[in-house]
Amino acid sequence: MKNISLIIGAFLFSTLFYKQDLGLNLSLFSLLTIIVLVIHNKDAFKHRRTIAFSSLYLITGIAIFFYKSNLSIIANCVAFVTLIGHVSEQKSSIYINWLNGLYTFIAAFFHRNFNIIENEEKVKLKKKVDYGHWIKVIGIPSIVLVIFISLYKNGNPVFADIISKIDFSFINLQWLLLAALGYYLLYNISKPIEVNPATEIDLNTSNILKNKSHINIESAKKENQLGVILITLLNLLIIFFLITDITYLITINDLRAPTISNQVHNGINALIASIVMAILIILVFFRGNLNFYEGNKNLKRLTYTWIILNVILIVNIAIKDAQYIYYFGFTYKRIGVLVYLLLTIIGLITTAIKVNQIKNFWYLLRVNTASAFTILIMSSTVNWDNHITYYNLNYAKSIDFNYIINLSNNNTFLLKYYSDNMFLKGKRKVLIDNKYNNYLRQLNNTDWQELGYDNFKLE
């Protein structure tokens, strides 16, 4: 039964992807993957988290059907790898899920073929089917037969005539090979495996920092002193920076795109460096004994102040970015800045929690990778091109029309609607009509595997 599901899945895989672009097929493949996983791993699907990861994977698959974009495809691949990894070990961190998922997806067949029996610590040689022997029995005679047929064809015209009449064109070797690849992939994911010792180490690593040794009071005192001086100076520096930056923001008169662009991008570069350094410095000071030193209260207070000041710095940059968006509209870069700022705030909050609750570095890695994953999945469900176009056309003070035209086809119907309702003329109308007509042609030529939501909008 289980093997039959893989064979059916393999033929479906080939049917879905053979000479097709992505669309409905990837959504259906997401469903197929979940079905195969459920059939082979019923126990894993009793856990709520596994069901949640499956739902996220399915959501990204549906997002591809509604508006195929590079982001939704990437999110679908990441969700796929995460789900597979999670089925292999439900208690591991998300980055270990990625490692296990990727390894399972690409090489589980070979891993299982080697057949390591973890507990018994011995290699079990399979006695069921000798694949090598069967490959030899079928492969070698076939190759030798083909060689001899081609030689005999040259020696006998009657034989050559008969052979040339044999027509195997109904067999599509490419389609069969893709089905074989589909079988390989589905076989791999049917029983997810773990990368060890990485998974074992992860399972044995808690989030709490442990007081490993006896605290050397003298050395902790010196380190605490150094930390207090350094973080006080950094606090003063960031306050001075914020005052000058806010003054500049209030008094700025030059609202030309290059000026604000420079401001935002320079601010972001500085922010990247300062936040990464801030987190690293905090991690260095709070890596061990200082967490358990009783006189660390001032250092902790200074650290929290520094984190809050960094958050204010982020808000400052966000205001600049919002100003930029207000005048010149959305672009992917400007949205990317906002996403980065969100991730940075999460990073700073988790760093504050790490200091407060004496957590270790692995806590930060676990929580922040999970946050990044969540944001990726959430952002894949948004039709960004459509939203960017809508905002820029209706609210932005000035429009970069070429940018909008060069976005994906997800905004084509909106542009056409805009063109018809605003009675556009000239170059802009021509550009929109060209894009619209090309897209219509593309939609009309799609096979059922490539269908998207836009196909159903056509009359």
Binding site: L99, H111, F114, G139, L177, P197
Partner: protein, 127 residues
Amino acid sequence: MNLPKTILKAIILATTIFWLILTATEGFNEERIYLVFLSLIPISICCSLVIALTISPFFWLKKSGDSNRLVFKKYFPFYTIISFSLCLYGTLQDPLIICFYLSAFFTTMQTWVWLAKGNEQQNKLEV
């Protein structure tokens, strides 16, 4: 470690996968039979170099107490992921030579199994 035998098996496997995919995509005619034999030369060189330089050292340089099973368990997953990433990158750069990358990927994976299993059997005999 029976390296020459493993390399020979890898050459046959790589040639089979390479020509199977090429035949599936571009068709086959009898003139190509000569090319199949000719292709054995570069495939042999590639297989020998890749196996001798990137897979065998894991088994040669293992610590005295480590079994092949442990070497396989420790390094194979990371080797696989790196190999897959490189092959995927190469395929995206030039999709026309997917047959080369697919045969390289599957051959290296199977070679790991052959080497690890072969050595394990040898160890058993020694015991």
